[in-house]
């Protein structure tokens, strides 16, 4: 199919390239610092007062070097890293020795994906629709009031906004659990579990939906004010097409298209936001894992999280790219 050749294939290539470059960056950038994580660990151990004789230190260094894939020349290390990526073997987690990093990731990843997908879709839809209607009726007072409110919310960073919501709704008015969810093993799938999940996910999701939504609101409002002035919209109104239809089928439907592209571009930042929010609410996702990994100096774990995140984001972008032609007939039918 021509479509495959013109549209799909280049995007698949792009996907592979991005993942490749991303993981290569993960490899190289930390090495630019000239710091050796192995020496770091040794230093930490010694700083905590343990004294080791030189041969023990050497053994430790060798083991660590293997675990971190730091053996051999730079090129050998690079290849080792790729081998590990393909076998999903990131070595053992340092702080939960000897649990392999991959196992931890497997447990925590689905939670993050769930939160990521739901909050992103919700914030995008809500933000765009409300922003679109506000943009169409930009003279009305409610539109202006909404603008002002959003001007205050927009600049607040994820962590701070999360903390505010946490204080308000888990401490001041304790409606929601403060420590999020705790996942144990062998949980039965029943209503109680579902409710617990909803309660624990509500605040993080709310944070993300609001913070994400305000960005879409502002962008959509601007877009709609331009689309409103397009010829085909004016013509439809002159021709007597009902206003409600004009708003949804003529204005919003057209303004949404560039917003899909924008979403694809923003996914990297959105994902980072998800991780940060997870940290605030101790939500059992990769953000929490990241927090634990970083504070305990678990380099393997952090690397695993980074690689997995790159894959997740790149895949999400690809999915969006594949979705776009379904929405824009100009791409669908050349």
């Amino acid at each position: 199919m021509r479509f495959f050749r013109d549209y799909l294939a280049p995007r698949l290539v792009q996907y592979v390239l991005v993942v490749f470059c991303g993981i290569t960056a993960v490899f190289f950038i930390p090495r630019l610092t000239g710091q050796d994580p192995v020496l770091e660990i040794i230093a930490q151990i010694q700083a905590q007062g343990a004294s080791l004789d030189p041969s023990a230190v050497r053994n430790l260094m060798e083991t660590l070097k293997e675990l971190y894939g730091l053996k051999g020349s730079l090129f050998e290390q690079y290849l080792t890293m790729w081998r590990r990526v393909f076998t999903f073997d990131f070595g053992p987690s340092f702080f939960q020795f000897p649990t392999p990093v991959a196992q931890l990731l497997r447990i925590y990843l689905p939670w993050t994906i769930g939160l990521f997908a739901t909050s992103t879709v919700l914030s995008w839809l809500l933000g765009n629709i409300v922003g679109g209607i506000a943009g169409y009726f930009s003279g009305k007072s409610w539109s202006k009031i909404l603008d002002a409110v959003i001007m205050v919310i927009r600049p607040i960073p994820h962590y701070i906004f999360g903390v505010v919501l946490l204080i308000l709704f888990a401490y001041v008015w304790p409606l929601f659990p403060a420590r999020g969810l705790s996942i144990g093993r062998g949980m039965a799938l029943n209503l109680e579990l579902v409710l617990a999940i909803l309660r624990g996910s509500f605040l993080p999701a709310l944070t993300l939906v609001i913070l994400g939504g305000v960005v879409w609101f502002q962008q959509m409002k601007l877009l709609v004010q331009n689309v409103k002035r397009e010829d085909f919209v004016e013509y439809a109104r002159v021709g007597g097409v009902k206003e409600r239809r004009v708003v949804f089928r003529y204005v919003l439907k057209n303004a949404m298209l560039p917003q899909v592209t924008q979403l694809a571009l923003a996914l990297g930042q959105v994902f980072s936001g998800v991780l940060i929010v997870e940290m605030v609410f101790s939500y059992p996702g990769m953000g929490l894992l990241l927090y634990r990994g970083v504070t305990r100096g678990d380099y393997n774990l952090v690397m695993g999280i980074t690689v997995l995140s790159i894959l997740t984001i790149a895949t999400a972008v690809l999915l969006l790219d594949l979705l776009y032609p379904l929405l824009d007939p100009r791409i669908r039918h050349r």
């Binding site: 610092t33 994580p37 600049p155 990297g268 940060i276 970083v294 999280i305 972008v317």
Partner: protein
């Protein structure tokens, strides 16, 4: 000064300006602090706000108010370094890529694009983990600068591209102006609002990022910044123990600072927009 007066008519600028000024004053107050910012146990611990300590004291035995003045000052320093240094890189890359075009442009933009899809935040964290020992204020700022130029370089480049195609470029080239002088003299006025607003956005981002780095324990935790003071408050369970003054201070200050910066950036960039400028010139003559 004329400009200032006109800007102050925009309520967003006025409010943002006043708040920012107040915060800067607070930052400068730190030089008059009767307490050492780093030493602990200087005052009785966990006292709620009183006349002796207007924002109370924290669990480390420090006066919350005076710690706050230092935290504003240090956060601003980090953010300023990050913002200014990344501006220089973004401008260089954006101008060169936009004007030269060709392979250089594609390489630079490919680099920038790659940095966008990758969760920069995570690589930033990885690097910070390795540099844990040496995260002074300046280094934190530089680290943030290293990761903060990509988006803005792309925006600047787009604008340079559109400027390049306009009439006055061709005229200028035809009249024999050298490339560098052309680029600097002619384009800078048009890109100034863009550079300025991206500077403020970058500063805001740096402040937010610093907080996350602090929460992760990746900066020198003894140095008071908005992030580190928040971090200590959380570690010492300030919320749970009801020491609301300790945790609210950095939260409220951060919100005020960032909202002020945002309002300033929006109002100033609208004001500097060349299209608005021309309208105003018409009004005066």
């Amino acid at each position: 000064m004329e400009a200032l007066r006109e800007l102050l008519r925009d309520y967003r600028f006025a409010v943002g300006f006043v708040i920012f000024l107040l915060l800067v004053v607070l930052a400068f107050l730190s030089f008059a602090s009767p307490y050492d910012p780093i030493r602990q146990l200087q005052v009785p611990r966990d006292r709620p706000p009183s006349r002796a300590h207007i924002l109370g004291t924290n669990s480390k035995g420090q006066d919350v108010f005076w710690e706050a003045t230092f935290s504003i000052r240090n956060s601003l320093i980090i953010a300023l370094i990050a913002g200014l240094v990344s501006r220089i890189v973004a401008i260089l890359v954006g101008f060169v890529a936009g004007y030269r075009g060709g392979t250089l442009d594609r390489v630079l933009m490919g680099l920038a694009d790659g940095l966008l899809v990758i969760p920069l935040f995570l690589i930033l964290v990885m690097v910070a983990m390795l540099l844990r020992g040496s995260m002074t204020l300046v280094n934190t700022g530089l680290l943030l600068a290293f990761f903060g130029w990509a988006w803005d370089a792309r925006t600047i480049r787009s604008q340079i591209l559109s400027l390049r195609e306009r009439e006055f470029t061709k005229t200028s080239v035809l009249s024999g102006n050298g490339t560098m002088s052309l680029v600097i003299r002619e384009y800078l006025p048009f890109t100034t609002p863009l550079i300025f607003s991206t500077l403020i956005n970058n500063i805001a981002w740096a402040i937010g990022m610093e907080i996350v780095l602090a929460i992760l324990g990746l900066v020198r935790l003894e140095i008071p910044t908005l992030g580190t003071t928040l971090q200590w408050a959380i570690t010492y369970q300030a919320m749970l123990l009801g020491h609301w003054w300790w945790i609210s201070t950095p939260v409220v200050l951060t919100i005020l600072l960032l909202v002020a910066l945002y309002w300033l950036s929006v109002s100033v960039s609208e004001y500097l927009d060349p299209r608005m400028r021309i309208q105003r010139i018409g009004a005066r003559s």
